[in-house]
Each structure stands twice: as C-alpha cells, then as structure tokens.
C-alpha cells in the first residue's frame, strides 16, 4: 500500500525525539539486564564461598582436636627382674617382655589407695594400650636404662583423651564424663590438678599407620600409600598420555581406526571409576598375579582412569599450538619429529601439565576402585615401597568414618585435612612447574 499524502510517510519515519526516547528506553532495559546478570554471578560466587567456608569450618572444627593428644606423666621403674629376669640383655627377650606390668606399677604408685581387682582394672584402663610400645622402644634403644627410674609421658586412652579435651575446653563433650566411674573421675581430677596429665602435640597421628586404638592410629601409612600410588600413576599416565596424544594429533592419518580410538578415549573418560577397579582386579591381580592391596596395583588402576583425561587435555594443548610454528619448522627442513619435539611439545607442555594435574587430583581422591583391589584392608604397617600392602588416604578416611570409637570422629576430619594438604602441595608443585615451562613471549 502506497501512502498518497506526505503526512503518512513522515509518521512512518520516527522523529529524532521519538528515536532518542526509544533508544533511551532500550538502553535502560539493557543496563538493567546487565546489572541483574552481574548480581546473579556475584550471588553464585558468594554461595560457593559460603559452602566452602562451611565445609572447611566443619572439617577443621571437628578435626583440629585430633592434632593434640592427652598424655600422663608416669615415673616408670624399669625393673630388671620384670623385663629381663635372666640378665642376658638379649634383644629377643627384651622385645617380648611384659611392659604393662611397669605401667601398672607406676600407676599404683601414683594412686596408692587402689587395692581391689576392679579398681586396679579401672585405673589401668586410663592409660592407652599403646603405652607399652613406647616403653619397649625406650628399652630397646637403650638397654642400660634397666634397673633405673625415669619419668615418661605416656598416651592416655582415647576416651580419657576426649574427657580431657572436653574438660580443658569447658564443655561437656557429649556426656563423656558419664562413661567413667566416680572413682576414675576422681583420680583424673587429681592427676590433672597435679599437672600429671596434659595435652601434647599428637606426633603419633603423623608417624603411625592405622590402629584399632584411636590414640595410636595415624595417617602416615595411608599418606605413603597414596604417595606411592600417585607416583606410579604419574610415571605411567603422563608419558603414555602425552605420547598417545602426540601420535593421534601429529602422526596418525585420518582413518576409520583413528576415529574409533578417539571415540573410545572420550568414552573411557566418562566410565565410572569402580569399573576400573573391577578391571584392575581381573587383569592385574587375577591374571598377572600382582599382590593385593599394593600401591603398584592401585597406581595401575588409577593410571587407567587418568589416562583418558591426560590424553584429551594433551590433545587440546597440542591443537592450540599455532600452525604457523609448525610451518616455520617444517619450512626450514625440520623432520616431523623434530618439529614436534622442538616446537610443538614445549608450547603444549603447560596445557598438558594442567591436564595431568586434573587427572592426578581426581586419582588422589578416588576410593571406589581401590576397594576392589583390596586397599580397604586394615593395614597397620607403614608401607616401605609400592609393592608392600598399604591403604590410601581416601580409603583410610572411609574406614575411620565407619569406626565405632568416638575418637575417630576427630581423626577422620584430621585425615581429610591431611588429604587436602596433600592435594594442595601437589597442585602447588604443578602450578610452579607450569609457570616454569610457560613461555614468557
């Protein structure tokens, strides 16, 4: 339809005022949308931070008390007649002697009014069953101490430890006092008043393996197990993953076969980790006959799990290297391999390291596949190498969280803190490495 008078034509064309008004209105709408979007972002960041604070707050709040442990000071008389009646000072005899008699004697000396059998048992129960180990260690290290008296700090039973922590912080500690008899409480109060019992730094937590006694349980065994496992994983998955990525990106010609490999690698990255555990059980333990509970096997299983992540990240890093660098190298007469190793690899390395960090961090926190290969076993000894039986930090946390003893609550949180610290150290190393390899031009 054609307008026959000029008036109609002019009304279709917006007047300058009307244009400005509309632009103004749309502008305001745009700015509002922008502000809203920024608030959404800020809110989600805040929410994330709040959850993080709550998480760390509870873990630290629950776990910090595990870093201290109650000790009692006993004047131990290293009675030669008890420990070494023959007087031969034979290490075999010394190591099997009944050191608990010494602890009991020292305790009775401290609380002389105890006479009946029941009272004695109540008294002896206050001290950890692990006290005898430190006595044995003292004697084994210096047999000359026999026949002499020495004042030693020995660990308290974990229940007493909880009572002491509750007492010192002025709380009830979940009615922990109710778990002791009036007599026991009386003795403890007196010892506390005499400065005979106090909280000290819990070195055992950092140097021991697992134990049924909470006051003796430590994370060192699990930490070492995790360390050996990740070492195996890193040594296998990084070179294998990088080599596979380089081959697929730089050397493999496009073909049906390469496509199949590619699809499968991407699928493997999404496979639930417990499946890798079953695979490890079937292949490494049942078929190759590797030992159960060994960090080597754990590392192999985690390698299977980490490999796809490393390959995918490495391929992305290689793809990100500008083609002009490749052309420059080839144009000057570098062979394919020289081009890759002199130019592509150094430029892609930071990206590859990032992939490796992500994969290793995932491997460190993984417990499901390890259950399948026997790393969930109760193992007291600290592993000496990748072949000795061991457990891993996440599995240790799982085991402790499952334990009925109350003192394991704090130790579980403390173990989580150790795991997080492990992760932090690992990531910091990787970030440092990456910044070293990053080209500054």
């Amino acid at each position: 339809m054609i307008a026959d008078d000029g008036d109609d034509g002019a009304s279709r064309q917006l007047s300058p005022e009307e244009t400005r008004r509309r632009v103004d209105a749309s502008l305001r709408r745009r700015y509002r949308a922008e502000r809203r979007f920024r608030y959404y972002g800020l809110c989600s960041v805040c929410l994330g931070v709040i959850f993080l604070v709550i998480l760390f707050g509870t873990i630290i709040g629950n776990g910090y008390s595990a870093f201290r442990q109650g000790f009692v000071q006993l004047d131990i008389h290293f009675d030669a007649d008890v420990i070494d009646p023959d007087g031969g000072r034979d290490p075999d005899v010394l190591s099997v002697a009944d050191y608990s008699l010494l602890v009991k004697a020292a305790l009775r000396e401290l609380v002389p009014e105890v006479t009946s059998r029941g009272e004695k048992r109540e008294l002896n129960n206050l001290v950890s069953a692990g006290a005898v180990f430190s006595l044995r260690e003292t004697v084994m290290a210096d047999p000359g101490i026999l026949g002499r008296k020495r004042s030693l700090w020995l660990p308290l039973n974990s229940e007493v430890d909880l009572w002491l922590k509750a007492k010192l912080s002025g709380t009830d500690g979940d009615g922990i006092s109710g778990r002791f008899s009036a007599r026991q409480l009386g003795w403890l109060e007196r010892l506390l008043a005499d400065d005979r019992i106090e909280l000290q730094f819990n070195t055992a937590f950092f140097t021991n393996g697992d134990s049924r006694e909470p006051e003796l349980a430590g994370v060192w065994g699990a930490t070492k197990g995790s360390f050996f496992m990740l070492l195996v994983t890193l040594l296998l998955s990084f070179p294998l993953g990088v080599a596979a990525a380089i081959y697929l990106e730089e050397f493999a010609r496009r073909s049906w076969w390469v496509d199949v490999v590619e699809v499968n690698i991407n699928n493997l990255a999404a496979v639930p980790s417990i499946v890798f555990g079953l695979l490890g059980l079937a292949v490494f333990i049942n078929f190759f006959g590797l030992p159960r509970s060994a960090p080597l096997v754990g590392g192999l299983v985690l390698t299977l799990m980490t490999l796809p992540v490393v390959i995918i990240a490495s391929r992305a890093a290689i793809k990100a290297v500008p083609p002009s660098v490749r052309e420059a190298a080839l144009g000057i007469g570098a062979s394919q391999m020289q081009m890759v190793f002199h130019h592509v690899l150094p430029l892609a390395l930071p990206g590859m390291l990032t992939g490796a960090i992500i994969g290793m961090a995932r491997a460190l926190g993984e417990s499901a596949p390890l259950l399948m290969i026997g790393m969930v076993a109760f193992i007291v000894d600290v592993p000496s190498g990748p072949m000795s039986p061991s457990t891993a930090l996440p599995v240790q946390i799982y085991l402790w969280a499952d334990s009925p003893e109350r003192a394991f609550v704090a130790r579980t949180s403390a173990a989580i803190m150790v795991l997080l610290a492990f992760l932090l150290v690992m990531n910091a190393t990787a970030v440092w490495l990456r910044s070293r390899f990053e080209r500054r031009w």
């Binding site: 000057i332 007469g333 031009w441």
Partner: protein, 292 residues
C-alpha cells in the same frame, strides 16, 4: 577457494608428464593453456603439468612453469587462484595437508621432487620458505637463526654457528638492529623485523630457492620497502618465487611474472611486458585493476 569449476581437461597422468623431456619447444605444447614462454634460462625448478586436488576441489590445473637461477618470479592473481598452492608444492608443504593430492612433474635441478626416494627434509633445506605472517619461533633471535643450521649440522662448532647467524642476519639487513640483543625473544621484534628475521632464518640454511608467500601483506609500507630491497639483494644469490597481491610490488621486485586465474597460469612473461602489454584479456583486466 570460492568458486572452482570442475576440471575441464583430462589430467595428464604423472607417468606421461614425467616422460616429457624439458625442452622449450616441448614446453610450448605441454603448457597449451598458458600464453607466453614458461621456460627460463638456467633452470633450477622445472614444473610440468602440475595438478593439485584438495579433496574434490581441483585447485591447480595443468600448471607448467620454470624458475631460473638468480631470477625473481612474481606469482600474481586474484584470491583463490592457486598461486599459494603452487608455491607450497615447490617444497612439498602441501604434504602436511591430508586432503591434498599432487600430480605432475616437479624437478629441482633435474631431480624429481616427489619421487619415492626424495628426502623431503633435504628438499626443504634446498627450497626455503618465508610465510605470509611473520612466524619466528618463540625463542631468542640467535636461536631462531641458528635453528636450521643446527638441524642440518651446518656448523662444526660454536664459532662457525656464530658466523652463520651473523652472516644471515647481515644479509637479511637486520644485524645492526639486533646485534646487541641476540638473546631477546624473536617475537619481541616489530613486524617488519620479524619478517626479516624469518628471511635470515631461511637463508641461514643456504637454500637454492626461496619461496615467499605474500611476505609483506602484514607489513607497513616502510617495512615493505626494506623487504623489497632485501629481495633485490638476495636475487644475486638465490632464485626467488614471490606470491604477491600488490601489482606494484610485483613490478618493482620481479624479472618475470606469472598470472594465475582459477587454478591455471594464464600468462607468463617478463614483468615489464606483462604490466605494459599483456597478451591475454584476463591478464589485462587484472593488471589494469578491472577485477581482482
């Protein structure tokens, strides 16, 4: 490559093309599409009946061209006409493109470039290439120039390597600007300096032919003028094939010019004749700026 018509002529089989002796009389017949003389005096690179396919696209059709020693040949033509493709065939850079297929007879000093026993690394050492975008390695200036010489083991010791690096930088006209900062990153130089560094890197390997793929398209006029002067000097020692979009540049630096159009060489001849008196209508349209 925008609109590429399907191949019009049957492509000569490689065996047939290889059998053709390289003689001026014969060349006239082989390069039936091309106006002008495709042969050159003192031939270093001789191409007959070259065809390149990228998948289904026929990017280069029956191209024949000689490149002589000490000559600068300019390859001109509209975008997508196949001049860069042709250039990349001359040191087998097309090998890196998986879909590319090259047929025809390519000879360097009479030797078949695409023969089974030809070493592509050796070929690229003899036929160097300078790219459109300056692409120095993310390494020091010294390392950039020394890289090729190191690769091919040209220097027996550090002193010789120093000589090669200084000599190359000198010939590339860069030595005065960078001699005090050889350890600085090559990527920290200006665009023109980077391109001259790339040229220095290329001539450090002492090639016989230098291929330049629009070496000045990313540079300002002053840097361009310096590169052009450099090409002039380098032509005393090397054969140079340069792809360019600037007809003024082609006119300034080259002795011969080949005009490409839709995958064919339409016309070859001495540069001054091509620009003053083109024989083919398409060439005339292009050099007079009617299209392109």
């Amino acid at each position: 490559m925008q609109t590429m018509d399907k191949p019009q002529d049957a492509v000569a089989s490689p065996a047939e093309a290889a059998a053709a002796p390289v003689a001026p009389v014969e060349a006239e017949r082989v390069a039936h599409d091309t106006v002008g003389d495709v042969t050159a005096k003192n031939v270093v690179i001789c191409v007959r009946e070259a065809n390149v396919y990228y998948g289904d696209t026929h990017a280069l059709i029956n191209v024949s061209l000689d490149i002589g020693r000490n000559e600068v040949i300019a390859l001109i033509g509209p975008s997508g006409c196949g001049k860069s493709t042709f250039l990349r065939c001359l040191n087998r850079m097309n090998d890196t493109i998986e879909s590319a297929r090259v047929t025809g007879d390519f000879r360097l000093d009479g030797q078949d470039m695409y023969a089974r026993d030809t070493d592509v690394v050796m070929l690229r050492a003899r036929v160097g290439m300078v790219f459109q975008k300056p692409n120095p390695f993310p390494k020091s200036i010294y390392e950039n120039v020394a890289y090729g010489a190191r690769l091919h083991g040209l220097a027996a010791n550090r002193a010789e390597l120093d000589d090669i690096v200084y000599g190359s930088l000198e010939r590339a006209g860069l030595v005065d600007e960078v001699k005090n900062r050889l350890d600085d990153p090559g990527t920290g130089l200006s665009g023109g300096q980077q391109q001259r560094l790339c040229i220095a890197r290329t001539i450090a390997v002492n090639p016989e032919v230098i291929l330049m793929d629009e070496p000045c398209s990313a540079l300002d006029p002053i840097a361009t003028a310096r590169i052009e002067d450099l090409i002039d000097e380098l032509s005393e020692k090397y054969a140079i094939a340069i792809v360019t979009h600037s007809m003024q540049q082609a006119a300034r630096v080259s002795n011969r010019t080949a005009y490409f159009h839709l995958g064919r060489i339409i016309e070859v001849g001495p540069t001054d004749r091509i620009f003053t008196n083109p024989a083919h209508k398409l060439t005339e349209d292009y050099v007079t700026g009617r299209f392109g």
